[in-house]
């Protein structure tokens, strides 16, 4: 499935008009086409229209606030979202990721960092979408969970589980290494597309979301185990 939208089209939802102007100029120079919207309700309409490859969403918004926009958006769309959270509100980051955001940045942010995050998300998507030819029809499975790489769908006991792209990539990496520990550093590189930075809880939150969505295994055990001080491990069911 190839997205009909050019990957450079970005929707920015932020009520700071001047900031949006500056971002449009800056991101334009980096090769992106920015569409800026300053109101949550209007932003949601544009985001749901499927005209953009990625959404940059501020948490503090008039109209619907950013979380509300994200919640409604996730009901119908899996378009990648980068949340802009207020500094001093650590919880917002976790909440954003839990609600299905792909990544976050604390505002005021470094615009270079924003570009890096956008590119990382695109890289992740294009890698899985183009796929190596050999991997086109590949199915990764463990127990009752199947990951169809070509269609990017996950089945548990034959039923489809809806995952965000970050969660899907995370599951892919863990399944490929099923039975062995994958370090948080490696997960950060392969899932978030950036080097692991200490005190960043993104991977842990994505793992926790994935656990919730997959539920316990048939034998009632945790599918993804935390290995203290090392990382995470997808447990292979004893047969």
């Amino acid at each position: 499935m190839v997205s009909p939208v050019p990957t450079t089209d970005i929707l920015v939802i932020d009520d700071d008009v001047e900031l949006c102007d500056l971002l449009t100029e800056y991101l334009g120079a980096e090769g992106f086409v920015v569409h800026a919207v300053h109101d949550g309700r209007e932003g949601l309409q544009h985001a749901m229209a499927g005209e953009h490859a990625l959404v940059v969403l501020d948490v503090m918004l008039p109209g619907h606030n950013g979380f509300e926009v994200l919640r409604r958006l996730r009901e119908t769309s899996q378009v990648p979202v980068v949340m802009l959270t207020a500094r001093g509100q650590d919880v917002d980051r976790i909440v954003g990721l839990e609600m299905g955001a792909d990544d976050y940045l604390a505002k005021p942010f470094n615009p270079r960092e924003l570009v890096a995050r956008i590119r990382a998300i695109h890289r992740r998507l294009s890698r899985t979408e183009d796929g190596a030819p050999s991997a086109a029809g590949e199915i990764l499975s463990a127990g009752d969970v199947e990951l169809h790489l070509a269609s990017r769908t996950v089945l548990r006991g034959g039923e489809e589980v809806t995952l965000t792209s970050a969660e899907l990539t995370l599951l892919e990496v863990l399944l490929r290494a099923a039975g062995t520990v994958v370090s948080r550093e490696d997960l950060s590189t392969s899932v978030l597309g950036r080097r692991f930075s200490p005190y960043d809880r993104s991977i842990d939150v994505h793992v926790s979301n994935l656990r919730k969505k997959l539920g316990p295994s048939a034998s009632g055990r945790e599918r993804i185990k935390t290995v203290r001080s090392h990382g995470y491990l997808y447990a292979i069911e004893p047969r």
């Binding site: 500056l22 971002l23 001093g88 650590d90 604390a106």
Partner: protein, 441 residues
């Protein structure tokens, strides 16, 4: 400390006992004893007169009934076979009358609730009069209320009880005020005493109202100051966000020569952003907004922080070691994580190169204790408490080489207090700072 309660209690007790004792003694001295000879002859004589008057009357029974109604004393007159007197006539009356007729003097017969005293009016054979004397109630006899010493003891005990209640009543509003003052000192400015003191005496109630006015005013000022700080911080965020994008635009257009100054601008902007973020965190924690309380494993949390801190420290040639154990505490995971993280990162900041920051956990009673120890320069003794004050910096840290916003430990302190815990710092005996965090389990 000389406490008001025992003093009020004791003085009331002594006063009441003395007053009671005085009354008891005066009563005993002024009242003829019921066992006294003069008292008995007085009774004897009046009963005799009454009987003679009754005999002369047309209806002796009516006379005696009237006397009984007026004095509650039953007097009977036995003339031959006839017995006059208020009903019911004791069954023992006739037998006793026969004895009194036969011999001189007073004859007595114990009854269930007293005694019957009889004597002949003139000589043996004449009519007999008898009076029914009620004994003191069995209860009074049981406690021995009929002797002076026992009365004094009863006065002493009752006085003590009354003094206790009175002292409690008088000191209760003071205790309520004291509790309220303590809570204000602990930072809870929403406390008011008027509801509790509404029934207290006017002077105390007025004091309570004044206290409430003072607390309300302080709360108003503190909230206004906090709101200003929060608003200013939020307002600073928007221009700073624009500044950082504009900076990158400048970078895109400027030549290589501008890289140095632009990097510097970026670093300072990042420092400002961090500072604003931490000010917002401190004010949010100080407001103590309803934090979600969920069970979490503090050991796992400390472990995770230690692992990240070790990752950070490794890059600077330092290490972080943690010995943890699973302990379940109730709290907000993100806030507690922030507290532990700030303490550990502060330790790393001051740890000399090649040294190790050690984190240990232990349980003492219903507390879990996390200790973070570095081998840095420590803190002057007089500043050990100040390092938890926002923006406080130890003098030699003024050059800011160590980085940090000066809010890390203040955030940790607020976060831990929000969870009902404490945090303190000591200089380890062999150098370095030891920060101890205690949380209720």
């Amino acid at each position: 400390m000389r406490s008001l309660f025992p003093r009020i209690f004791l003085s009331f007790w002594v006063a009441m006992t003395l007053i009671g004792a005085a009354f008891a003694v005066i009563y005993a001295a002024s009242q003829p004893s019921e066992r006294g000879r003069r008292y008995r002859s007085l009774v004897h004589e009046s009963v005799r007169r009454l009987a003679i008057d009754a005999l002369d009357a047309e209806d002796p029974a009516a006379e005696l009934v009237r006397f009984h109604r007026a004095t509650e004393t039953a007097v009977y007159l036995v003339d031959g076979d006839r017995v006059y007197g208020p009903e019911p006539i004791p069954r023992e009356a006739r037998a006793l009358a026969r004895r009194a007729r036969a011999a001189e003097g007073e004859h007595t017969r114990e009854l269930d609730d007293g005694v019957l005293v009889a004597f002949a009016l003139e000589r043996p054979g004449s009519p007999v009069v008898m009076a029914r004397m009620r004994s003191p109630s069995p209860w009074a006899r049981a406690v021995g209320a009929d002797t002076l010493w026992w009365r004094l003891l009863v006065v002493f005990l009752v006085g003590g009880l009354v003094a206790l209640l009175l002292a409690r009543y008088l000191t209760r509003p003071l205790r309520a005020l004291r509790r309220a003052t303590q809570r204000v000192a602990e930072g809870d400015l929403s406390v008011r005493v008027t509801p509790e003191l509404s029934r207290a005496d006017a002077e105390i109630a007025a004091l309570g109202a004044d206290f409430d006015r003072m607390a309300a005013r302080v709360e108003e000022l503190v909230l206004a100051q906090r709101r200003l700080l929060t608003d200013v911080s939020h307002e600073l965020n928007s221009p700073l966000a624009r500044l950082r994008v504009a900076l990158e635009l400048a970078r895109q257009r400027a030549g290589e020569g501008a890289a140095g100054p632009l990097d510097r601008i970026e670093r300072e902007a990042e420092r400002l952003s961090a500072l604003i973020g931490e000010i917002l965190t401190v004010t949010r924690l100080e407001q103590g907004e309803g934090t979600p309380r969920e069970e979490l494993d503090l050991g796992a949390l400390v472990d995770e922080v230690a692992r990240d801190a070790d990752f950070e420290a490794k890059g600077k040639g330092r290490a972080v070691m943690a010995k943890t154990e699973p302990v379940s505490v109730k709290g907000d995971e993100e806030i507690l994580r922030r507290a532990v993280e700030n303490i550990v990162r502060n330790a790393i900041r001051f740890a000399p190169e090649g040294s190790e920051v050690a984190i240990t956990m232990s349980r003492e009673g219903d507390q879990v204790i996390v200790r973070v120890r570095d081998h840095g320069p420590g803190v002057p003794e007089e500043a050990l408490e100040d390092i938890f004050v926002p923006l406080y910096r130890v003098e030699r840290d003024r050059d800011r080489k160590t980085g940090g916003t000066g809010l890390g430990l203040a955030i940790a302190d607020r976060a831990v207090k929000l969870h009902g815990g404490t945090i303190d710092a000591q200089n380890a005996r062999d150098g370095g700072l030891l920060v101890t965090l205690r949380l209720p389990v």
